[in-house]
Symmetry: C2
Subunit: 283 residues, 2 copies
């Protein structure tokens, strides 16, 4: 374990130091991933993350490694401090990548495959205090998401659309890029899901054709009663989104932020993002 | 060079033995690839392959390594025998993978990236003699290709659609799977492009919305005069394809095969595939 502490990642529990050129994750993006907060060496909201990891693996025919195996990886890679009090821990980030494993040239997977599992440790990003207080600025990306029901919702390794979208801007002032589908529906942001409030209705876009269904989105969908809002999944055009009373983005690292502007549209500061952020943290 | 001969691959000219977990090719499929025949240690149709590699890299904002660098890699990895006569060589296959290089967590590429280049050597697949004499059998895949003009035509590393399509069948009797787009247009096969002859018109599907524009397709597009056919790029539905007089598939390894059946539709043996195969070989 002391040895592993010097590494910032762990491949198959430490048995490999790097990825094989024959790994299908490298060759074809044939795998899935997740990103999560670690507190005191333990993954935050692990049941949600693991359930989603298993489901995403299953959707492309990969048998996900057991939770016990991944937990043992976490223990090797992260310092578990059971006595840390709430104020002393420094949150970290774990990224789990599961691929179908190695294969020969060609798209057909071998008859027997052994999934590759990677855990990468990194520092928690530092979000500007202004993001919490005043919200974040979005731009609408020119890159549109393709409709692919067989892969929609899955956090798979085919992420060139996100890369191209993220390459559209360099300004630090822009926190996220809003992604529409080819038909002009609002879907998500490059690394976040989206919610829009219209009166007492809170809506998040339908992800049955494209997009990544994150676990923070899933958790917010369950907060309706506590928020006093009716929460639902619906189609949402950009024009509709810009008429929302309030727009929120969310992911597993920052929780939820209010959107204070999308291109030229500006929203005043409101309370929903803070409320949701607190509920997510208490949960 | 003797050392390199023991390897079946070469990463960055031999300076690495495996792929970093931080490589964006692994994390996001952020890269492109090509597969080509090698004869006597030299890539067949290299100008076509290199031009396409450069174009595909440029399409996603990667600066392709120079042809000189890749040639030097080929020399390290493959035995170059200038004196081999035409009958003695055993053809091999080279796969080139170019990724954006390493990066931190997050979709935004670092300000400076150094592309990762990989060459993998493998044996030439052995195609059944029957494929050459009587053609090949196709099935129509249930997996449909998503429309993404920003990535259409590019042989990038986001290939989960091809993987899912190829996982639809295991029968050895089926050589290839035909891929339609979400609208029902014929686009390509999992590892091949498609041509259909209607009288003296030879048509290959439009790839401006999805699919991979291979170099063998490109070469066949230039053979019209020699074939006495008018060759063009057009939209093609499955119903139209099944009414073709002759259907051909092609790629850089096998050249061209006649399609003798697609699901229940059967075609008699004809001459076009052999003609094209011979022209491609002589070229």
């Amino acid at each position: 374990m002391a040895m592993a502490r010097n590494h910032s990642y762990l491949i198959n529990g430490g048995s490999e130091q790097a990825i094989s050129v024959f790994d299908r994750g490298f060759a074809y993006g044939d795998g899935v991933f997740r990103t999560m907060q670690m507190r005191s060496g333990l993954p935050v909201n692990w049941p949600f993350h693991y359930q989603k990891l298993v489901a995403d693996c299953a959707a492309i025919g990969i048998v996900c490694p057991s939770a016990e195996l991944l937990m043992s990886d976490f223990q090797k890679l992260f310092e578990i401090d059971n006595f840390a009090d709430e104020t002393s821990y420094i949150p970290e980030v774990a990224k789990i990548i599961i691929t179908r494993g190695e294969g020969e040239r060609g798209y057909a997977p071998p008859a027997v495959t052994v999934p590759t599992r990677v855990i990468i440790k990194s520092a928690m990003p530092i979000y500007a205090e202004l993001n919490y207080q005043q919200g974040v600025q979005l731009r609408v990306c020119e890159t549109r998401l393709a409709l692919q029901p067989k892969l929609a919702g899955i956090k798979h390794l085919n992420r060139l659309e996100n890369v191209l979208a993220r390459m559209e801007w360099r300004e630090d002032s822009i926190f996220e890029g809003l992604l529409l589908d080819q038909a002009g529906n609002v879907i998500e942001c490059t690394m976040s899901n989206v919610f829009a409030r219209f009166g007492n209705r809170l809506i998040t876009p339908d992800l049955s054709q494209c997009g990544v269904a994150g676990i923070t989105r899933q958790r917010i969908l369950g907060l309706g009663k506590m928020l006093g809002l009716s929460v639902s999944i619906e189609s949402l055009t950009l024009v509709q989104l810009l008429q929302a009373d309030e727009v929120i983005i969310c992911n597993s690292l920052y929780g939820a932020f209010q959107v204070n502007s999308i291109d030229n549209k500006v929203w005043p500061q409101q309370e929903l993002a803070l409320k949701i952020r607190n509920m997510l943290a208490d949960d």
